[in-house]
C-alpha cells in the first residue's frame, strides 16, 4: 500500500510500548471501578460516559 507519510520504525515501537503500559493501566482502572461499584451498588460506571 502506498503511504505518503513515513511513520518511522520508531513510531511503531513507541506505540507498542505505550499500548503495553496503557493495557496495564486500564486493567487496574477497570478492576478499581469494579471494586468501587461493588461498594457503591448501582452507581453508573465512569467508563460508560463516552459519547461515541
Amino acid at each position: 500500500m502506498l503511504l505518503y507519510i513515513d511513520p518511522g520504525s520508531g513510531s511503531y515501537l513507541v506505540q507498542m510500548i505505550i499500548a503495553g503500559v496503557l493495557a496495564g493501566l486500564f486493567y487496574f482502572k477497570n478492576l478499581w471501578l469494579k471494586v468501587k461499584s461493588f461498594f457503591t451498588k448501582g452507581k453508573k460506571d465512569e467508563a460508560a460516559e463516552n459519547e461515541d
Partner: protein, 463 residues
Amino acid sequence: MINEPTAIQHHPASFKDPSGFIFKANGKFYRQINRSYAENYDLLMSSGLYKVLTEKKLLIPHTEVIDNANQSPDWYKTILPEQLPFISYPYEWSFDELKDAAMVTLRVLKIAVKHGMVLKDGTSFNIQFYEGRPVFIDTLSFEEYDETKPWIAYRQFCECFLFPLLIEHYHKIDAQKLLSVYLEGIPASTTAKLLPFKSRFKLSTWLHVYLQASVSAKNKPTSKPATASFSKTKLLNLIQSLQNAIKPLRVETSLQSTWNNYYDETILSKNYLDEKEKIFRDFISNINDGRTMDVGCNDGYFSKILAEKNRNIIAVDFDSQCVNKLYLDIKSGTTKNILPFCIDLTNPSPALGFNHLERQSFAERAKSDTVTALALIHHIVLSKNVPLADVARMFAELTINHLIIEFVPITDEKSKQLIANKATYHKPYSPEAFEKNFSSYFETERKAIIPGTERILYRLKKR
C-alpha cells in the same frame, strides 16, 4: 460539465497525497478522486462512516459530480465539497481552537475505527473552522483499517497537535506561532527540550513526548517495513490516552493580556461605547455585503453586532488571548457566523511551504466586502510606526466595498500613552492627513465624531 479544462486550476497545496487532488473551476473547489483510492472511497461511503461523520458535523459534506473535468487517466470520481467561507491555518488559531481541532481529529479517528477505517494522516491542516466549530475537510484521509498495524499517523498527530498544546500549556506562551516555522509539526526531540522538567512527572507527557523522543532517536530508519502486531483494543486505548492527555490542557484566560480588558478600563467610559455603537449600527444598517472582516476585533463586541445581520464575519486580532476568549464565547453561545483568528496586521501570515504556494498569505485570503477597523489605526501608526499612506494602501488591498474605520487623534488619552516614551512618530497624524491619504483609494460616505471624545468614525467606499 464543470468547465473547459483550460480554465481549471490545480490547487498548489494539494500534491502530497496520490489519492487525488483539489482543483478550482468556475470559482468553486472540487476534489478529484484517483482510481488508486477508489476502494477506500467506496468503503467510506458504504460503511456508513460518511453518514455518521457528516451527521455529527465532523466531516465536510460533499456531492458527487460525474465529470472527468481534468481528463485525467487516473480519474475515478469528482466530488464537490461544501464551500468554506475562509481558509485558516493552525498558526492563526488560538489555543482552544487548536485543542478543539485535535479533539475533533481524535473523535473522527475513533468513529472511523468503529467502521473499519482509520486516518492515514493526522495533520492539523485537515481541519478548518466552519459555522463556529472545527470540521475535518480531507475526505481522502480515510483508509481501510488493518487491525494488526499501529496508527500510521500517530507521530504526525503528536507533532501537529499534542506537542504545541503541551508547550503552550506548560509555558503559557503563544506556541502556535511556532507552527508557521514547523509546518509539519514540532518534532518530539525539540518538544522534549522545550518542556519544563516538571512535565516528566506526568505519565501521558512522559509516554508521548519523552519516550517517543528517545525511541525515535535510537531507532534509525530502515528500508524494511515495520513489523509490529497491534490490535483494535490497543489502538482505542492509544486514542483514549491522547484524549485524556489533551482534555485537561489549559491556558490562563484570566491572565491580563494587552487588550483583553480594554473595554473594562475606566478611561473609555461606557458612555463612549454606547455612542460609538449607535453610530456604528447606523453606518452598517444599509450595507449588505457578503464577507465582513473585523480587524483588531478585541473581545468581539462589534463583531457580534455585525453578526446580527447574519453576515459571514471573520474577526482577527493580534492578541491570541482575546481571540481565544472570543472563540470560547462563540462556542458556548448561539452566534455561529463569527470565525476568530490570530492575525497581526503589521506582520500577517506569509505564503509558506513548497514554492511558496502551499499555504497562502493572509493578504491572498483576506479580501472582504466590508472591513471594520475600530480603535486600531493609532496602534498601527503610533506603536508600529507605519506611515498613514501605507496604512491607507493596506486597507485598500483588504477592502472590496466598504471600510468602517475609527480615527483616534493624537490628543486622545490612548494615543498619548502610545507616544509617551517615543522621541517622535510619523507626522502629520491628524484627521486631515488621514482623509487625504485615504482619499486616494476611498471616498467618504459618512463621518461622525463620537460624542464626548475627539474620535471620528468614517464610512468609506472603495473607489
